[in-house]
């Protein structure tokens, strides 16, 4: 199993009702698998879009990226810096 910390930011944190959640997924899981697990574990996360922007360990990744034990997955609302 891989334990992944999922972090929510800005509007997504408001929708999820929390800023982070810890989920466990099979060792070969992808970001998409983690999202599925998050929606089960965090009721507010069901309101998140189907394919949010994601970052794994501080870098943007696609939904088919593999996760490892100890990873931090961030769900990023549309970026609006500057």
């Amino acid at each position: 199993m891989a334990n992944v910390t999922v972090r929510f930011f800005a509007r997504y944190a408001e929708l999820a009702g929390c800023e982070s959640a810890a989920v466990a997924v099979p060792a070969s899981a992808t970001v998409e698998d983690v999202l599925r697990r998050v929606r089960e574990a965090v009721p507010g996360a069901q309101a998140l879009p189907a394919r949010p922007l994601t970052a794994l360990n501080l870098r943007q990744v696609k939904l088919d990226a593999r996760v490892q034990d100890g990873d931090e997955l961030a769900l990023l609302p549309p970026l609006s810096g500057g």
Binding site: R51, P52, A55, L58, L76, L79, S80
Partner: protein, 147 residues
Amino acid sequence: MTYLTGKPIAVDDILAEVQGPERGGTCVFLGTVRNGPDDGGVTGIEYSAYDAMAQAEIARMLAEARERWPEARVALRHRLGMVPVGEASIGIAAAAPHRDEAFAACRYVIEEVKKRLPVWKKEVRMDGTTTWVDPSGKPVAGGLRDR
């Protein structure tokens, strides 16, 4: 280097980081909080970030600029927290031997910021209401944007 700050952006500080006797062209970009005729009475914008990733992304952008314009130097600060109308949320200074590289490096970094920096803004209005802003600058209406 800490690129994120809760304080007003000090232009002198970012200029000092990039200027040097061999660099004859310097430009500064400031992004300031706006309340234009179509902005609905904005009094300020509350900025929040994924701090660790924002720091890492800015470091990567500046390294990319350095690779593309080796003689240029670029400095950046992004303000977080409540920024009132008229004050800067971002400041970028770029200096190079000649103006073309300075402008190009500065432009590159602000455009990458817009594309990649994990920072979010919530507009605060005179009537006390707040709205998350999407990348096109329009308030997020009912639904959420997908990618």
